[in-house]
């Protein structure tokens, strides 16, 4: 029983801190910490810095330009980068399609795509969900019909995060309608500039343009863009989802959000005293901090088990549920801390460049929006109900 880092791990943490002290652009960190909007350029600028450091692809084997971090090192990176205000990495290329290409793709695909992900030349998005296929993903209908050297793709994908920035999309498509739903799905890599593809924004409840609909109308995709075997896409999709699920608990992000909340609560006043000292509000904060403490130990237990050679299983599902509930609770408190100033929707104050007077608190403007935006946490990456189904089946045997 030992909850401490080893000397090597502490040295690694120092290395991470030194790197972030030196290389993380102050404007980007300020935007992240203040929950301001990040531009495509912000993401690309930071990705380039990470790539140059050799720390961009932490899930990849070294031969493809990855870095071999232990689970504990990844955890240290997660904690430190969240605390410093590092932008959340856009996972679709580096952490989602790349592991699939590495495991199931052919040599040409590896040569073609992996370097472009590392360099930031390609921005990938994910073509999984459809209007009629959400939690029941295998019921997807987007069709790909073989025609000589091409597939002709027709259909619609939705909830495509940051698809407006992407030049590549990986898609689950139906190549066989004669067999069981799961057995007729293939995994296709598609260039977003191919004729017949239309991207339309979906504006979310907070007024943001984060997700999109992508329409496919007789889109010609070369057969060499098929990953692995035709009709075996479901296997690859599930493999990818295990990558998606790790880290979804967002413990590091919750810690950063909690620290932000406490700073806010020490500035906001109630009865002439900081909210942080108000009996009711301080107890609300205390409760979420306690729950986060427990979840972060649960997270460490999973990490230590993986470090010891185990596989992260359905325990991550349980933690995803708990972790997302905690983060939503923190967002809820941040909104409450504003009192009536949670109400104004002052878009200009959400921009990092805003130089005018703040209506109430310099960090107020994005907080109600963030609360609403983060309702997504319990929906994406497999809704929390789906996670419970997984635990029920895999751990409980029900």
């Amino acid at each position: 029983m030992n909850m401490n880092y080893t000397a090597e791990e502490l040295a690694f943490r120092d290395e991470v801190r030194a790197f972030l002290d030196e290389k993380l652009p102050a404007d980007i960190a300020a935007k992240v910490k203040g929950f301001r909007r990040l531009t495509k350029e912000d993401h690309q600028r930071w990705q380039k810095i990470l790539s140059e450091q050799g720390w961009y692809a932490t899930h990849w084997p070294e031969e493809y330009g990855g870095v071999k971090w232990t689970p504990v090192q990844k955890h240290i990176w997660d904690e430190e980068s969240c605390a410093y205000g590092v932008p959340r990495s856009i996972p679709f290329g580096v952490n989602m399609v790349a592991p699939v290409i590495i495991k199931f793709g052919n040599e040409e695909q590896k040569q073609q795509y992996l370097p472009r992900i590392l360099s930031g030349e390609d921005w990938w998005c994910q073509g999984y969900s459809e209007p009629g296929a959400g939690s029941d993903l295998a019921s997807l209908k987007t069709r790909a019909v073989r025609d000589g050297d091409h597939y002709i793709v027709n259909g619609q994908k939705t909830w495509t995060t940051l698809g407006q920035h992407a030049n590549m999309i990986f898609c689950l498509v139906r190549t066989n309608t004669e067999v069981k739903a799961q057995e007729g799905i293939s995994f296709l890599l598609i260039d977003m500039n191919t004729p017949g593809i239309t991207v339309r924004p979906i504006i979310t409840l907070d007024g943001e343009h984060e997700v999109n609909e992508v329409f496919f109308e007789d889109v010609k995709v070369p057969v060499e863009n098929l990953v692995g075997e035709e009709d075996k896409g479901w296997t690859y999709a599930k493999y990818l989802l295990t990558y998606e699920r790790t880290g979804l608990a967002g413990i590091g992000l919750s810690k950063a959000a909690l620290s932000h909340l406490k700073q806010l609560a020490s500035r906001r006043l109630k009865n002439g005293k900081p909210l942080l000292e108000d009996p009711t509000f301080s107890q609300r904060i205390a409760q979420v901090e306690i729950d986060l403490m427990a979840a972060s130990i649960s997270n460490l237990r999973i990490i230590a088990a993986v470090e010891g050679g185990g596989v992260p299983g359905a325990e991550s599902s349980m933690l995803k549920v708990k972790g997302t509930e905690i983060r939503q609770a923190i967002n809820d408190l941040a909104r409450r801390a504003l009192g009536p100033y949670a109400i104004p929707f002052v878009e200009e104050e959400m921009s990092y460049d805003y130089e005018g007077d703040f209506l109430s608190d310099e960090n107020a403007a994005p907080l109600s929006s963030q609360y609403f935006n983060n309702r997504k946490l319990s929906i994406f990456g497999g809704s929390n109900e789906i996670q419970k189904n997984i635990v029920s089946k895999m751990i409980l045997g029900l």
Partner: protein, 380 residues
């Protein structure tokens, strides 16, 4: 980072687990509970003979200086068996106070007996008017001759009915809420003026209120420095909280296993009820609460014997808050998932539920610990 037990710790836990499995069937437990003693004299002796009551004590007393993790290993298994013996009161809390506050003579006099199990200690730190706050002490200890005269009332002293020694707090100076001025005394339960009002507890054990009617004690009854007991009480209560968290985790593990088993075998509408998603998700929630509780019990154990600090205070308050809430959740949802059978005396689940909810009333409920944590909040 490593969350596995060492070989010795695992052996210790296995030893207790085997003993509990062999000697503490649910049926036997009901019988033990109904005796005048309220637990098994024989099982207590075995704990002593196997050196388990000596675990936290030094080698010369037959122990091996076990810390939080060793106590956790023992208490988890005692929790699984719903064991009624006063391990927490006598070994962890009583033994802890004597070790920390006692002078050489007092240690010499008492600790060997505590470590062997022959001397059973009970501890009375709370009072009827004090809502879990152990610094709210109205009982008085007034100087008389060489010793003191004690008067007052100590509330819900678990194991006090059969204790050979009772440790009580009483005020030697200051106002009722002052941390300063509290002293600890080791008293003979049979001394003149000690009145014990004994009762069974909801969770099957026994306890008493101890009324002190001008009890005369010698100067040698004072444990530690006069008026300076608050720190000892706080520190040792912290150790006891960690132990109680471990016991609760043992209870929760067993409670969840019982519920899961029931979901698989109970059929309604022609299928096992575990096929119904609403019950599946509830069961997952119960497992998830157990995981949170387990994490906090581990963390609490790692802080149990650490030097006192605000971080230790926060951690132990957080642990007890999580444990209490998880215990109540698992109890309520488990009874609901069992339906009628979960309401019966003859089936074990209800007894786990009762123990878990009563653990919530020992050494501070979740509100108490939430307030305590909030009062220690750091600004960022």
């Amino acid at each position: 980072m490593d969350f596995t037990l060492s070989e010795e710790q695992q052996m210790l836990q296995d030893t207790v687990a085997r003993l509990v499995r062999g000697e503490y069937s649910f049926e036997k437990r009901l019988e033990f509970s109904e005796t005048e003693l309220g637990f098994s004299e024989d099982f207590w002796k075995q704990l002593g003979e196997l050196g388990l009551t000596a675990v936290p004590f030094p080698e010369e007393l037959g122990g091996f200086g076990g810390g939080g993790v060793e106590i956790q290993s023992v208490m988890t298994e005692l929790g699984r068996g719903l064991c009624l013996e006063p391990y927490l009161q006598s070994v962890v809390l009583g033994g802890g106070i004597l070790s920390q506050a006692g002078n050489d003579e007092q240690k010499e006099k008492y600790l060997a007996g505590v470590a062997s199990g022959e001397l059973k200690v009970a501890v009375g730190l709370q009072e009827p008017q004090a809502f879990y706050n152990q610094n709210e002490v109205a009982s008085k200890a007034e100087k008389s001759g060489d010793g003191y005269t004690l008067s007052g009332r100590k509330a819900v002293v678990i194991g006090g009915h059969c204790a050979d020694l009772i440790i009580v707090s009483a005020r030697t100076s200051g106002d009722v809420n002052d941390a300063d001025g509290i002293s600890l005394f080791a008293i003979d339960p049979n001394a003149e003026g000690v009145e014990r009002r004994t009762y069974p507890t909801v969770d099957g054990a026994k306890g008493c209120d101890v009324v002190l009617n001008n009890v005369q004690v010698g100067a040698d009854a004072l444990l530690g420095e006069e008026g300076k007991a608050a720190d000892v009480i706080e520190y040792q209560t912290g150790r006891a909280i960690a132990a109680l968290c471990a016991e609760a985790v043992g209870c929760m593990e067993e409670a969840n296993e019982l519920t899961l088993e029931y979901l698989k075998q109970r059929k309604q509408f022609g299928v096992p009820i575990g096929k119904f998603q609403v019950l599946q998700h509830r069961m997952v929630d119960m497992m998830s609460e157990l995981e949170q509780a387990r994490s906090m019990a581990i963390l609490a154990a790692s802080y149990a014997d650490a030097e006192q600090s605000d971080e230790r205070r926060r951690t132990l308050a957080a642990a007890k808050n999580v444990i209490n809430r998880a215990g109540q959740f698992i109890s309520e949802k488990g009874i609901q998932s069992h339906g009628g059978i979960g309401m019966t005396w003859e089936y074990s689940f209800a007894h786990y539920a009762k123990r878990l909810v009563m653990i919530g009333h020992q050494l501070g409920d979740d509100d108490f610990h939430l307030e305590r944590y909030a009062s220690l909040l750091q600004a960022s």
